[in-house]
Point group: C2
DNA sequence: AGTGATGTTCACAGATCAGTGTAGTGATCG
DNA sequence: CGATCACTACACTGATCTGTGAACATCACT
C-alpha cells in the first residue's frame, strides 16, 4: 500500500514528477517549442533516457503538462463556484472571482497557457490540442450550466458572452497590462447577468 | 518618380514582397518558430541570401510580418468606424462589426496572429513584442476615445470591458468553435454601452 | 563605359533538435 | 536467488536551425 512509486502523485514516479514540474515551468515561461528536452533533463537533474522512459515523447510530455494544468485550473474554479451558495445567481460570476484571484499577485504576464499552446501547436493531431480545446469548451459549458441553474434567459448566447469576457480579460491583463481586467470583466458580466435574470 | 524598387509597396523590392507574403502566410498558419527560413526561401522561390540581404534576420522578418498585419488591421477597423456617422454612439461598436466581418467566411481557426506571436515570443527585447503589445493597447485606446466621444460614463473601465469582449470573442471563435462569437460580443457591448450612455 | 542595386548559386559553419542504444547500479518483491 | 523496476551515464544519429562568404549575372541609370 505504501508504494513509493505511485499513489498520491497521479501515479508518477519521483523522477517523472520532477520532470513534469520543471517542464511545466519552462514551457509556460519560455514557450513549448523554445524549450528542448535536453534543457528539461538538465534543469530537472534527470537523464533524457528517463524522460523518454516515462513520457515516451516530447509531444506526450506537453500533453501531460497541459492536462495537469487543466485539472488544477478546473478544481480551482469549481472551488470558487462551490463557495457561492447554490441558488444564488452570483454563482455564475464565480469563474471571474477565480480569475481575479489568479491574476492578483504576480504580474507573470505570460497569459493563458492553453491559449499560448494553441498558437504554438496548430497540428490538428497533436495530443495537446484536445486538451486546450477541451479547457475552453468546458468553461463555456460550465457557464451555460450555471446560467440555466440561475434561470437566465438565452443561456447559450450568454455563455458565449461570458466566455468571451473571461478569455478577453486574460488577454487584456497579459498583453495590454490591464491589472484590473478581471474585475472589469466581472462587473460587465454582472450587468449582462442581471439583465438576463430580471427579464430584460 | 516611377521607381520600380520603391513606391506603392512600402519600399519593398519585388523579392522582399514575395518573401514577406509567403512568410506571413506560413507564420500565421504554422506558427513562427515552426517555420524555418529555408522553408520560406524555398516556398517563395527566392534565395536565403536575398532574404537576409533584405530583412537582416528572422526576428526582423517576423516583426515586418506583424507590423504589416497590424497596419492592415488598423486600417480595416478605421474604415468600419468611419462607416458609422460621427456622433452616433454605435461608432463604439464598429470594431465588433469589423471582427464579425473578419470571422465571417472561412473557419481559419488560427485565431489572432498577435496573440499567437505573444505566446511564442516571450523574450522581452524581441522586436515583434512591441508590435503585438501595441496592437492591443491601440484598440483599447481607440475604444476609450470612441467612448469619450459618445459621452459614455467611466470610459476607462468600459474600454477595458470592450477590449476584453473583443479579444475574448476571437478566442471563443478560434478555440471553442463559436462562429457567432463576434455577434454575441457585439450584442453584449451594446448592452454595456447603452447603460453607460443613458446614465445607468 | 562605369556604377550600384538586385538577385542567384552553392557551399559551409556551428549549434541545437528529438530520440535511441547499450551498459550498469541499487532497491524492492515474490 | 532471481526478476523487475527506476534510474544513471554517455555516446551517437540524422535532421534541422539561423546565419555567412564568395563569386557571378542582370538591369537601370548616368
Amino acid at each position: 500500500m505504501a508504494d513509493a512509486t505511485a499513489a498520491g502523485d497521479g501515479g508518477l514516479t519521483p523522477a517523472a514528477r520532477r520532470i513534469l514540474d520543471v517542464a511545466s515551468e519552462l514551457f509556460y515561461q519560455r514557450g513549448i517549442r523554445a524549450v528542448g528536452v535536453d534543457t528539461i533533463a538538465a534543469e530537472s537533474g534527470i537523464t533524457k533516457r528517463t524522460l523518454y522512459d516515462r513520457f515516451g515523447s516530447k509531444e506526450a510530455l506537453v500533453a501531460a503538462y497541459l492536462g495537469a494544468r487543466d485539472e488544477r485550473w478546473r478544481a480551482f474554479v469549481e472551488s470558487r463556484i462551490a463557495a457561492v451558495p447554490a441558488g444564488s445567481p452570483a454563482r455564475v460570476l464565480a469563474p471571474f472571482d477565480a480569475l481575479a484571484e489568479w491574476t492578483a499577485p504576480p504580474p507573470s504576464a505570460r497569459g493563458c497557457a492553453f491559449l499560448n499552446a494553441f498558437g504554438e501547436l496548430p497540428e490538428p493531431d497533436h495530443p495537446a490540442r484536445a486538451v486546450v480545446i477541451g479547457e475552453k469548451t468546458w468553461l463555456r459549458d460550465r457557464f451555460r450550466a450555471l446560467l440555466a441553474e440561475a434561470g437566465a434567459a438565452r443561456p447559450d448566447g450568454l455563455a458565449v458572452q461570458l466566455l468571451s469576457l473571461h478569455e478577453g480579460a486574460v488577454v487584456a491583463y497579459s498583453m495590454a497590462g490591464e491589472r484590473g481586467a478581471a474585475a472589469e470583466a466581472r462587473a460587465a458580466a454582472r450587468v449582462l447577468l442581471d439583465r438576463a435574470v430580471a427579464g430584460g
